[in-house]
């Protein structure tokens, strides 16, 4: 914050400095207002339309009602799709947490030959082989494996894609947990898996929480992979199903879409801000693609 720092020398430079200060203040106020307008206005629809008795595409103050949520609850496809999103998100989260902590723990504690090379290769691969660049071979692979239209298949593909980043970040966390506890646990005869579960996991909990939230956010909103790999609407997650909500007249069903969008957005937004406040992961959260 720049307070008024006008010097009290001659009138000339003082008034020039005042002018400059005034212009600066104007500039940053106008800029802040424009930025807020740009980022707030599109979101207003998500805040108002779900509670509007006659939602339109335009942003307007609602004629208050909860009816849109009733429409949503009466739509089995919509509710099921939120459940499907949950299955995909939690499934992938469990897979990457289990495989990721095993892998990162062993990479952190044992100097396997070529370890650094392996880590960087993994990270490189995961950033160049993206869902979009690899959609054709992934689709064909799943056809051959008979995993088209299988939620399990989607979980495997999504987990494979985010696992390298998970290992990379978790290894950092594992590296920074104190090793003396493990040593004493070992002196008491605990086996490595037991040590990992009872000693290391509790110590690395902030890192694991970060990764868990990050994985859920990644998968929850993912459109492309389930869009390509799933066929039946009954298995599709919210991100895909949302685009099938049309009225009989072929218009988007705004009552349903608005309430659904809100319900679909709240969990990730809440999780993000919860973890951000609790663990302050401003930066690891940055890997959303």
């Amino acid at each position: 914050m720049t307070a008024v720092q006008g010097s009290t020398s001659t009138a000339g430079p003082e008034s020039r400095q005042m002018l400059r200060h005034f212009l600066g203040l104007m500039g940053k106020s106008v800029f802040t207002a424009l930025v807020l307008a740009f980022f707030v206005i599109p979101v207003l629809w998500l805040v108002f339309a779900p509670f509007d008795a006659h939602p339109g595409l335009n942003v307007k103050l609602p004629e208050f009602t909860f009816n849109n949520f009733k429409v949503l609850l009466d739509n089995p496809t919509a509710i099921a799709s939120l459940g499907n999103s949950l299955i995909l998100a939690l499934g992938s989260m469990v897979v990457v947490l289990v495989l990721g902590s095993l892998a990162s723990y062993s990479l952190s504690r044992v100097k396997i030959p070529g370890r650094d090379l392996l880590l960087y290769t993994l990270l490189l691969l995961s950033s160049i082989i993206t869902g979009t660049a690899a959609m054709v071979p992934t689709f064909l692979l799943m056809v051959k494996l008979g995993l088209i239209d299988s939620q399990f298949g989607v979980i495997l593909v999504l987990s494979g894609g985010i696992l390298p980043t998970v290992i990379f970040i978790l290894k950092d966390f594992m590296d920074s947990t104190p090793k003396s506890y493990e040593e004493s646990a070992r002196l008491y005869g605990a086996k490595p898996l037991r040590i990992l579960w009872d000693v290391v996991i509790p110590l690395a909990r902030p890192g694991l929480a970060t990764i868990a939230v990050w994985a859920v956010v990644q998968v929850w909103g993912n459109f492309l992979v389930p869009y390509i790999l799933l066929r039946s609407p009954s298995k599709s997650p919210a991100a895909v199903v949302m685009y099938t909500f049309y009225t009989e007249g072929g218009q988007p069903n705004l009552a349903l879409i608005s309430a659904f969008s809100l319900l679909f957005s709240i969990p990730v937004v809440a999780m993000y801000f919860f973890v951000n406040r609790r663990y302050g992961f401003r930066f690891h959260g940055g890997i959303k693609s």
């Binding site: 980022f39 599109p42 897979v95 062993s106 490189l124 691969l125 160049i128 495997l156 696992l163 937004v269």
Partner: protein, 306 residues
């Protein structure tokens, strides 16, 4: 904790190599194996397979689906002599440059910079909304912008009194550029605000004392401190923007291919039109472009960690 048992633990010679839990190489490999297996099967293998598929005339249906023929580099020659491919590549470059390099990077920096000189409460509000755009699932944000830009009821037309302008039809590329800027600015803002926090205030103070203007302060004091961050940020968001499929939900590449960026082009070519071989060839071109960007980035990362 279990009682002390006659165990395997202390019997082995304890060498201080960081292996405090007595994992040993074999078991470490076993711990690592499941993760590597998953990554190899669903990440590495598809990429390698693209190499082969791109050399065949594989199709989604028909006779070429059952007995794909090896066609050598025909797909690449086709791609490189296809106007649609170059149209798509050109659009992608404009899209990446406009929405990542200019849009997200510049806007993100401008916000981070301005927010260092406003009240804390203002800063918290601005950051909240910028972040919100980034966190809301992409299916929802695309719908928000679809509503915003609608021809007859859109909020944008109402605000600018631009009548019935059909933004998504008349300005498809500009629309997805603005959309992607809106979605992604948060990352640059966060990265730059933590970078700016690392600039020593005393240096700024002394620059101000000698009467340096905002631009001079930026050029001589701030920029040298954040140069590394600028590079990191540019590379990462370039990579992500280059690979985003989300604009598909807004314009589906249309009208007339005018927003047909590469990911959408591949999707339509391979999975809509069924030309899997041709699509793979273009996928590989995309992977190679990704590889170039990522290699530069990882080299920087390694240098900074070292």
């Amino acid at each position: 904790m279990p009682a002390p048992a006659a165990g395997t633990g202390p019997s082995r010679a304890v060498v201080d190599d960081g292996d405090v839990a007595g994992l040993g190489k074999a078991r470490a490999m076993a711990f690592l194996a499941p993760a590597l297996l998953l990554v190899s099967l669903f990440l590495v293998f598809p990429a390698l397979w693209t190499l082969y598929l791109g050399l065949t005339n594989y199709r989604l249906s028909g006779s070429a689906a059952k007995n794909p023929q090896f066609v050598g580099v025909d797909n690449y020659i086709n791609a490189l002599s296809d106007d649609r491919f170059f149209n798509s590549l050109g659009l992608t470059l404009i899209f990446v440059f406009g929405s990542a390099v200019i849009g997200q990077s510049a806007l993100g920096f401008a916000i981070a910079w301005t927010m260092t000189r406003v009240r804390k409460s203002v800063r918290a509000v601005v950051e909240f909304f910028v972040l919100l755009a980034w966190i809301i699932p992409s299916s929802v944000t695309t719908f928000l912008w679809y509503a915003m830009l609608d021809r007859s009821n859109g909020t944008l037309n109402a605000m600018l009194s631009t009548g019935n302008t059909a933004w998504l039809l008349d300005y498809p590329l500009q629309s997805i550029i603005v959309f992607n800027t809106w979605v992604g600015t948060a990352f640059s803002m966060l990265l730059f605000s933590s970078a700016l926090a690392s600039v020593p205030p005393s240096q700024l103070e002394s620059a101000r004392m000698v009467g340096a203007g905002a631009w001079a302060q930026f050029r001589d004091v701030v920029f040298p401190h954040i140069r590394g961050h600028v590079l990191t940020n540019t590379l990462l968001i370039t990579l992500w923007t280059f690979n985003t499929f989300t604009p598909y939900l807004l314009t589906a590449g249309g009208p007339d291919d005018r927003s047909n960026i590469l990911p959408i082009f591949i999707y339509r070519l391979a999975l809509n039109d069924g030309a899997l071989g041709q699509g793979s060839a273009i996928s590989l071109i995309m992977i190679i472009i990704n590889l170039v960007i990522a290699t530069v980035y990882l080299r920087l990362l390694k240098e900074r960690k070292a």
